[in-house]
């Protein structure tokens, strides 16, 4: 390329255009589109009508094509009805309920996605969202079921304890990495299982957290009414304040990473730990602190899972959030708005499940779409090849470094 050594100011218009075309947001959108297309293919091939019509495809192709179109249209409109607006519903409440369900499911995904995203930008791979979530939820459940406090204070304390518990569990990872050089991926995987074991033990033992009249299965009491996250839209909707926590988390994350000194230090270590060390940053301490903050964001999700229910909790209270959070952070390219949107998308996938079940399509189809989306995200060359995008611009090392420091969608 001829403009390899061009300064950032030269040819700015073209550079900006190219940056958008090959940068995070376009790639994310195209990956989502490609994911939906592949999901459509799966829908077509699981449609009985299509498979029947495909038997005589050569004599009457319109039948098969029509059946294929019906399968796709029915599938995705069911997803739409289940996650955004149910135009077939009788009342306005029922019609907009899907949207509130999406927000409810998105809350923990966004919060834990922020945690993973933060670790990404420090150059750490936090696979331990599930462990951190369980550990935070454990202590939040202790506060919500075993301690009685006045209204208001109880909830605040429970949420703080969830955050602190998850942050502490995350800090252990950072500490072990900083102290012994153990890789955080292995440490977090092990700590996930250990947290699950500890939580199950607590939920199984009557002296600890088992429900008062419980049987042999590990289950906790329902959180006290004073410690429950309040419903936001009245009893008609299940949306609760956990979503507010996530939104606050997005704001805090944005400020922390883009405006604060700590965030600058995080990003510096993430870009080049050696350079950061030379510049006088204590990289080891930054690892510990970053993992603690990462865990704190996951703690918001822990509060959501532990306090956003009216029933007792079981040891699988984390669901698939731990791994979904990684996909959220990847799709959101570790930026605050990106994680918000990615969390909403995957929240919509979860919310759409019942409606898809109704039309006979397994809701697991959204798992396929989700899997392909992150596959395309993880493989930029693949997406560029499919959509014939220009290759990313090549710059000198210094220009590249400067460029990364001054733009936001930089982590992955």
């Amino acid at each position: 390329m001829s403009d390899v050594n061009a300064t950032p100011t030269a040819g700015r218009g073209a550079a900006v255009l190219r940056e958008i075309m090959s940068g995070g947001s376009t790639r994310a959108i195209l990956s989502v589109v490609a994911g939906f297309v592949i999901g459509a293919i799966f829908m077509v091939f699981s449609s009985e009508e299509f498979l029947a019509a495909a038997q005589y495809f050569t004599s009457r192709p319109t039948d098969a094509l029509g059946a294929a179109w019906t399968a796709i249209a029915e599938g995705y409109s069911a997803l739409f009805r289940g996650s955004i607006y149910n135009y077939k519903a009788d009342s306005i409440v029922a019609a907009i309920r899907p949207m509130t369900e999406t927000l409810r499911f998105a809350g923990p995904l966004i919060a834990s996605g922020l945690g993973i995203a933060l670790a990404f930008r420090v150059g750490l791979f936090n696979i331990g969202a599930s462990g951190q979530l369980l550990f935070g939820a454990l202590w939040a459940t202790w506060i919500s079921t075993r301690v009685s406090l006045p209204w208001g204070i109880h909830l605040v304390v429970a949420v703080l304890v969830a955050i602190l518990g998850a942050a502490a569990y995350g800090a252990v990872v950072g500490f072990l990495k900083a102290r012994t050089g153990a890789h955080e991926v292995i440490v977090t995987i092990m700590l996930n299982y250990i947290a699950a074991g500890i939580l199950t033990f607590f939920f199984r033992t009557p002296e600890l957290l088992r429900e008062v009249d419980g049987g042999g299965t590990p289950k906790s009491d329902a959180p006290a009414v004073t410690a429950q996250l309040p419903l936001l839209l009245g009893s008609e909707f299940t949306l609760h304040a956990g979503f507010i926590l996530a939104i606050v988390g997005v704001g805090v994350y944005w400020w922390l990473m883009e405006r604060s000194t700590i965030g600058f230090r995080f990003r510096m270590v993430g870009h080049n730990a050696d350079a950061a060390r030379t510049a006088g940053i204590n990289v080891e301490r930054t690892f510990v602190f970053a993992m603690a903050v990462s865990g704190a964001f996951v703690g918001l999700a822990a509060a959501n899972q532990a306090l956003g229910v009216q029933a007792g909790l079981t040891p699988d209270l984390d669901g698939s959030i731990g791994f979904d959070a990684i996909t959220v952070a990847l799709l959101g390219s570790s930026t605050a708005p990106g994680v918000l949107l990615a969390g909403l998308l995957f929240g919509a996938f979860k919310a759409g499940a019942p409606q898809m079940q109704v039309i006979g399509l397994s809701p697991e189809i959204t798992g396929v779409v989700q899997g392909f989306i992150v596959l395309f995200i993880a493989a930029p060359p693949l997406v560029r090849a499919i959509f014939r995008l220009p290759p990313p611009q090549k710059t000198t090392v210094i220009a590249d470094w400067w460029h990364k420091l001054t733009t936001k969608g930089d982590a992955q």
Partner: protein, 423 residues
């Protein structure tokens, strides 16, 4: 020994002989001696060595629980002392000694748990082997890919692919051997994706691995819900391989029935583990592979094609992991279940580390995890009071301890996790 900090995935500060191992051993030994011996239970425990139908039937061995604790505790203290002496002489405690230590400690724990009961040794050992086979095969796949410098987080996805294809193809074709082969090829193709992305496109290996896991989980969950659960009779009813006792060997008391009355998947594992060890450490092929994993630049300099070596080792590692997946379905229970691997790929990853990237040690580590799973089930039955959840997490804690460097030396191939860009 030098003090080198390698920034690879499993890197560790390489300590010159530390006394951590002896101290840790001493701690465990004293605990066993006191908890299971001095203040142990006085009820008797019956060690049941053989099942009723075994060829050579050994009588049960009946002894008081605390006597076992005292005897084994003393033996453990002796091993710990030996380890101290070795450390004094600047020698590392050998792995086999650590393994014997672990085994004795486990037996002491068993005797304590089984106080007033029978300890069905044959049952526990036999089931531990069956459960260890998928883990061991997954770990072999992991070793093959990490020895050449590619981190394989996707073992989970490979096991799941293998389990799914083995059950489904085995059912549809009514031929389990065909299902086995397709399972292996399917997992190898998945491995190829990992190889291409990480070697050709230099995408972060861990991210690709995680993404592949998410993808396989999504696809198999969907196909299971949409197709297998309604049409299970045709597509998810493979049955299992027959159990073939090996004449002679299966008559050996205690270990015979556990090791040599097994399915073909288990025997294949017996074959693959030593073969992999031989290739890795005794052939030129293995030397080249290890060179690529330790120092790709040096390997490149002497004319080894780094990218091609990595590609084929990772791909063939997928074949082996796919066999492990098949062992979950047609090598054990038959039908495929939703998310059947259920995190066993991650356990296999732990097995790789605990086994220090060595096939034999990894097989032993897989057996440890197999034991812990059986123990939890069995301990629940004999004494419901004890916290079985802690038995569940013991292997993970042990792995964690190994990773952070308290037990001996754990060092990954130096270039693991790092892409090689030919300059």
């Amino acid at each position: 020994m030098s003090t080198v900090v390698t920034p690879g995935l499993f890197s560790l500060v390489d300590v010159s002989v530390s006394k951590k191992t002896p101290y840790l051993m001493a701690g465990f030994a004293v605990f066993v001696l006191v908890a299971f011996g001095f203040v142990g239970k006085t009820d008797t425990v019956a060690f049941q060595w053989s099942k009723e139908d075994d060829l050579i039937h050994l009588p049960d061995f009946i002894v008081a629980s605390n006597v076992v604790g005292l005897v084994l505790g003393t033996a453990l203290v002796a091993i710990a002392l030996l380890s101290f002496v070795l450390a004094q002489r600047k020698r590392v405690t050998p792995l086999w000694l650590t393994l014997i230590f672990g085994l004795l400690a486990v037996v002491a724990l068993l005797a304590w748990l089984a106080a007033g009961n029978t300890l069905p040794f044959a049952f526990i050992f036999g089931n531990a082997v069956v459960l260890a086979v998928p883990l061991a095969l997954g770990a072999m796949g992991g070793i093959m890919s990490e020895r050449v410098g590619v981190v394989n987080i996707a073992i989970e996805g490979q096991l799941l692919t293998g389990a799914f294809l083995a059950a489904v193809v085995g059912s549809l074709t009514d031929n389990l051997y065909f299902g086995l082969i397709v399972a292996m090829i399917g997992a190898a193709l998945l491995s190829m994706v990992l190889a291409v992305f990480s070697i050709q496109y230099l995408v972060d290996q861990i991210i690709v691995g995680v993404v592949l896991n998410v993808l396989v989980l999504g696809i198999t969950n969907f196909l299971y819900a949409q197709w297998l659960s309604s049409d299970g009779q045709n597509s998810n009813f493979p049955g299992t391989f027959p159990i073939i006792p090996i004449p002679g060997l299966s008559a050996i008391p205690i270990i015979g029935p556990a090791l040599f009355e097994a399915r073909i998947t288990t025997y294949l594992a017996y074959l693959i583990i030593p073969t992999l060890w031989f290739i890795l450490f005794k052939t030129r092929l293995g030397l080249r592979a290890r060179a690529v994993g330790e120092h790709p630049l040096a390997a490149d300099t002497v004319g080894i094609n780094v990218a091609r070596t990595r590609f084929w080792w990772v791909t063939i590692g997928g074949l082996v992991a796919g066999l492990g997946g098949a062992a979950l379905t047609i090598g054990a229970v038959g039908a495929f279940g939703r998310n059947m691997s259920g995190g066993q790929g991650f356990i296999a990853l732990a097995v790789v580390i605990l086994g220090r990237w060595h096939p034999f040690s990894a097989a032993a580590a897989a057996l440890l995890f197999g034991f812990s799973i059986v123990l939890r089930i069995w301990a629940n039955q004999v004494s419901p009071g004890i916290p079985t959840d802690f038995i569940t997490i013991v292997p993970y804690v042990v792995t964690l301890i190994a990773v952070v460097g308290f037990v001996g030396r754990v060092r990954a191939p130096a270039a693991t996790g790092k892409p090689y860009i030919k300059g």
